[in-house]
Symmetry: C2
């Protein structure tokens, strides 16, 4: 006998986890399609050369890589961005741009396992490719809002920044050559605090204290509250304009917020100059999304604009903007907030199996309820009622229908509500449907 066990860092999805996961995915897919985003899928296995083309360091160490039967050097995908770049390069002539796609699929990374982190996990990416417009930036921001509303994880805020503003400030202050150091320091501000950031800028990066303070001041990072909301956003942007002139990056952010204001949805958004997103390849707006009463979970939907996705595989230039919902993080956040009903099924009604010769009647009855969109089971064995009860309870089924010969003759049945224990006897199918649908 072989001991049934899983690889370290991998997990099974039992129905109790799979049902809410599928629920989130369906809600998001519904929003994606309402916005005209279309699904794609790519292989889990690709040539290592393609997947690792640009990557190095950590990624290279984490990727699952091996030689296949044909001696090809292959790897399991570690994200959905590299496959998207390969996909767009390869199908460039078939696609219509702006190409708005979503992709929900597992990826694999042989990371050191920590609590809540797995070596196989689902990503949920959506991107608009081939459009440099402000409209596509706004569309992504609207889609995140709709997605978050549909998931119902509680009040949230989408924190927006434009990385180019920092560049403009640095350019004006003659600090462009220090931009990497400065970006890295700012990225840590929530963790280490303003004083440590300042220390890092002056001591490690060798920036004059006065200049460093000026930069942090312009970015509103010296305040306790780095996030700016409502009309204060426009005041802050005016301040930046006074300093930097009509800089394109400021005007861009201002126009985004003006549209959001006109749409009366400013409460879902804020301007947060401390959001930088580590990744090199973001070049314009960047954003992170926080559920307000569970900020410690980190961002549940992040992304930004990039100048060119496909440089590695194609001479074309495909700019874009994209984001990713953190499915697993959202799932555990909902769990923590007790917003997930842990159920082992969605079954609404079970018909008890009381008399073996009534099989056809039971199945016909089930069919009737199913045709009314009621999820219905028949207990599949002729066991004692107590066993059937136990099954119904364990599967979190709402109602039990009892029927013997008499009931079928009279077409009146007995219904029990498992949760509150009430029984309603001798009622018609229509009445049962009404009660269950309530």
């Amino acid at each position: 006998m072989i001991e049934p066990k899983l690889l370290k860092g991998f997990r099974d999805y039992t129905p109790e986890i799979m049902l809410p996961k599928k629920d989130i995915i369906r809600k998001l897919e519904n929003i994606f399609e309402k916005f005209g985003f279309v699904p794609i899928d790519t292989p889990a296995l690709e040539y290592t050369e393609i997947l690792l083309g640009k990557a190095g360091g950590e990624t290279e160490k984490q990727v699952y890589r091996f030689n296949d039967h044909g001696g090809r050097d292959v790897s399991l995908r570690f994200d959905l961005t590299v496959p998207l770049a390969r996909f767009v390069s390869q199908h460039y002539n078939e696609l219509s741009f702006p190409f708005k796609r979503y992709h929900i699929a597992p990826v694999w990374r042989g990371e050191n396992t920590q609590k809540g982190r797995y070596r196989e996990f689902s990503q949920c990416d959506f991107d608009i490719l081939g459009a440099l417009s402000i409209e596509s930036d706004i569309e992504i921001l609207l889609l995140i809002k709709e997605g978050m509303l549909s998931i119902e994880a509680g009040d949230f805020k989408i924190n927006i920044n434009n990385r180019k503003i920092l560049n403009s400030i640095l350019s004006k202050e003659g600090l462009l050559d220090k931009s990497t150091d400065i970006l890295r320091a700012i990225d840590k501000i929530y963790k280490i605090g303003i004083d440590s950031v300042l220390k890092e800028l002056t001591e490690s990066a060798g920036i004059k204290k006065e200049k460093a303070e000026k930069v942090l001041e312009l970015l509103n990072l010296k305040n306790e509250q780095k996030e700016i909301s409502g009309d204060d956003i426009f005041i802050q942007l005016e301040k930046l304009k006074t300093e930097l002139g009509n800089d394109e990056s400021i005007l861009h952010l201002e126009e985004i917020f003006l549209v959001l204001k006109k749409m009366n949805i400013m409460k879902y958004y804020s301007y947060n100059p401390a959001i930088t997103r580590g990744l090199d390849y973001y070049t314009g707006i960047v954003f992170e999304t926080f559920v307000l009463d569970e900020k410690n979970f980190g961002s549940v939907c992040s992304g930004g604009r990039y100048d060119n996705l496909v440089g590695l595989y194609s001479k074309n230039i495909v700019s874009g903007i994209g984001a990713s919902f953190g499915l697993d993080r959202l799932l555990s956040l909902l769990e923590t907030k007790n917003l997930i009903e842990k159920k082992s099924s969605n079954t609404a009604l079970i018909i008890f199996n009381l008399e073996p010769e009534l099989k056809a009647e039971y199945f016909k009855l089930a069919q009737t309820f199913r045709s009314h969109n009621i999820k219905t089971e028949i207990y599949l064995e002729n066991k004692k009622t107590v066993n059937q009860f136990k099954y119904a309870e364990k599967k979190d089924i709402g109602f039990i229908l009892f029927a013997g010969k008499d009931e079928f003759e009279k077409e009146k049945f007995n219904l029990k509500n498992i949760k509150d224990g009430t029984e309603t006897n001798s009622i018609s199918i229509d009445e049962i449907i009404k009660i269950i649908k309530k």
Copy 2:
């Protein structure tokens, strides 16, 4: 630059293929849940020892196997049955039996590639575990019918057999020791014909001609039409009873058909003694499903009953019955029959981007349509109308809405039906919703 290409035997799913694939999956998931089946998922990667435990020969050659970072011997799953067996053994005490699960996920096999066969493909399995009852056999047969009806691939027939009937016949004729040879020969009857089967039985297997003919006669295999439908089924089963007595396997099949008859759904089923299913592990009823005008596609949903799933990993005995929809096969069958509308999106309406200063208005308008469940896009760039048109056509969008300042002031808009070219000018949002929903 790296050439963007796929591994041999792998493919991308562009939106044109992904949309109908998702459509089939959603329809089947809907049916599974209506019957109270719950979803599970298991890792793509498992210990090779677990995945290959019982397998050998072809499977072992085809599996993607390698050593991971920790030096573990791991493999990509090649089906969903072995992971199910491992899952049920490992979670035995948490599960409520009968356990009705479905699992839709990719599997990988390094097969020699042929037309229409891929090394990565989706399986769609559903099983009832831990119930030996005839009710579970019937439930699976009903579920297949509902699944096929929801997919709308055309008239179909679910061909049922019980492998035990053959055993009973062989037992009576004293041929039990030849059962493997006989099963193998019968399995080929559609391919090689009755004469060759007879030849194989007499010459290779060394069975007396008279006995061989008797077996084939009892199994109705000497007729051109091996499949038996309607009341002829009961006549055939009576004939078998006369020969074999009240054999349990015959009574079992008879009861199944009696229930189907009582339910008035006999037209979806037939008794086909030529259906054997190659796999060793089936022990009771077996079935295959054919779309009547495309039988050459082979079975689109097959399965059967097995005595014990978990023997390799557990001392428990878990019998079950299961089946699998052939997603890729169904997809190409629908394609062949022109039953799939090849579309690059499901978008119903596109709002043209005519005046840059109306961004907020366009997005608000889109939001209104989306809240009425109309899939709506805004053209995301301020380009010439001809470009916006091209995009709408390429994405197979049904309607275009034109609006400038005047239209927003009057709250009356212009709508164009792309397919028939008709335009309706100066109509309200409500009228537009009505037209699109028609």
